[in-house]
Symmetry: C2
Subunit: 366 residues, 2 copies
């Protein structure tokens, strides 16, 4: 019975518990706190930045994987040096940790992405602004997520605080029609499988809703997204699930926005919507087991995030109202704005699926 | 966050973990041993016949339910007396524990079942044999399952050992074309939902394969099975999942064979095959939450039991061979003949689904 160790006890680790249970795997979680979302499988509580704690946790695990990408490179490399199978490995994870390195590497791979530049000074950023109609997206290379570490600027002074800490990533402000996400899973031995391309709807920089597959795709867009994700997965040596967040630009191009090397919010719809969910596939991939079929279970699937909390009485009301809806609660305490769960509906008619998912999710709006 | 306590740590408790995780429930298991199948959720190890141990376990649980029906009535009644919400309750469970009581009660409810009699002596059994062409099925009222406690006899001497211990259940040996199972879930407040009627294939008195829905059903058979299960669920006050095992007799009748008041082997196919699995529905039902939709996810589903064990390398081989197959391993040690897991495939064409499920399961035959 293989033992999978997951560093981080958030909802992504939590949602690995069901497929681990089904596949007969032992899942162990290194959790941040005793009340973490994945506490049921927590075998240790500790700091993922503490090399000794992480090495002790990894003892007896057949593979180490992650709930998040924040484990420092030195800790990852200590794990590898100690003989642990780490998936994704440090060389791949680097590109999910550092947006500047990611842009550089994707340029080398010839993957379509927004214009970008490394800017180390107000002058350099000023030049980038001049070259891009006076506006740019500026990102800190590390530590950003869900809209944090990202600013749209028209003057270098707007990121003076960040520039003091080191070089930044400046990106073309892409005019896009919508955002897409392409998920793929890859085994260490090389085999990879894609899921259908999905549309993601962001609100306030955070994923609000996912429609699977993305409606009204052209064949060219599907092919472009699949090729981008495949190129990145192989080119960066990603193992496990890779999520490629994409812009569908107003001029028709499909461009890489961000990468995540783990199960991703845009793939939650696969729990019900795919023969093999992203969580099951991630476990299979990091163990170098054969990957599962990713055929959809239904023509359409819609996932809606729930923020704040999911009190039992609201869950019951949502289930009463929408018996087809699947509610996922992450076992977190109530806190305004916190990603606390999601709702998924799958079915044959997009309008109906969207309606039911939104109707179920509406029970959780404060 | 509701807390569900499950008495018994077998695979049924284990398979409640995924939906409990999804619904944000806390699941606690009273396990027989530290290495029980549901050990991930075990909050205590103890004997389900030990009133004090069970009462201590129930402390802090919002509802108590079961992995099996073997908890003695006196323990169940002590739980109720202590204020625990017990689902199914002792009055209902009695009929899953005692086959004579079950037959008497079903006769009162007017439910179609094989001819039967309570026999307390060789003479009484002899008379029953005479009345039924010289053959009968004799069952011990308690303790039988998976073919144990059941004998087909043509002479009372063949159960002389059992008769010494008390009255037995004698049943007509039904000539049947096949076996069916009707699952239903009922909430304490009364609402109930059926799943489609399935065919079960037994080998050596043990469930080997389930086909969902049962092929070539007549409307009358479907209606009869649904009405029987609904009558029993309400008539016996069952809460949670009720499995009604049925004979499709050679003369066309649908007759009750056995009852189980818990998720049941015949319902494992609902994990992938239904919008709401029997494990999720059981949790919702015992909490008196709204029941979920039971529409199939695909036209056909086939579940095949795996006996002995599921070593990792065999799982990998099965998954490589059949990427659409879902493998469920119960985390038990290898032992010949032991129910150790199951395989499910769902899809549009019955032949294809049967083929793929059997091909995947074949990797586990010793």
């Amino acid at each position: 019975m293989a033992v999978v160790g997951v560093i981080g006890g958030g909802q992504l680790a939590r949602m690995m518990i069901p497929p681990a249970t089904a596949l007969g795997l032992e899942i162990r979680v290194l959790a941040e706190a005793a009340d973490s979302s994945a506490r049921l499988a927590a075998s240790a509580v500790g700091d993922y930045r503490d090399t000794a704690a992480v090495l002790a946790f990894a003892e007896g695990c057949d593979v180490i994987t992650f709930d998040h990408e924040h484990v420092p490179q030195e800790v990852l490399r200590a794990l590898v040096a100690a003989g642990a199978a780490v998936h994704p490995g440090p060389d791949a994870l680097l590109y999910a940790q550092d947006k500047l390195q990611m842009r550089e590497r994707l340029s080398q791979l010839g993957v379509a992405q927004p214009d970008w530049a490394r800017v180390s000074s107000a002058d350099e950023l000023g030049q980038f602004l001049t070259d891009h109609a006076g506006r740019a997206v500026v990102k800190t290379p590390r530590g950003g997520y869900d809209g944090k570490g990202v600013r749209v600027v028209d003057d270098p002074a707007q990121v003076a605080d960040w520039l003091a800490d080191g070089p930044l990533l400046a990106e073309e402000l892409v005019r896009f029609d919508r955002e897409l996400a392409q998920l793929i899973a890859r085994r260490p031995s090389g085999d990879a499988r894609l899921w259908p391309l999905v549309e993601t709807v962001q609100r306030g920089g955070v994923c609000a809703e996912v429609i699977a597959p993305a409606p009204q795709l052209t064949d060219a867009q599907e092919r472009a997204a699949a090729e981008i994700a495949t190129t990145i997965a192989h080119g960066l040596g990603v193992t496990g699930v890779l999520a490629v967040e994409l812009f569908q630009a107003a001029d028709g191009r499909v461009l890489v926005n961000e990468l995540a090397m783990r199960p991703h919010n845009s793939g939650h719809v696969t729990i019900e919507g795919s023969t093999t969910s992203q969580f099951e596939q991630h476990l299979r991939a990091v163990l170098d087991w054969p990957l599962g079929d990713t055929t959809p279970r239904a023509p359409w699937g819609v996932m809606i995030n729930v923020f704040g909390g999911l009190p039992d009485d609201r869950i019951a009301a949502a289930l009463a109202h929408q018996p087809e809806a699947k509610v996922h609660a992450y076992g977190k305490g109530q806190r305004p704005g916190r990603k606390a769960g999601h709702v998924t509906v799958i079915g044959a008619e997009l309008d109906d699926v969207v309606y039911r998912a939104r109707a179920a999710a509406s029970h959780f709006d404060a």
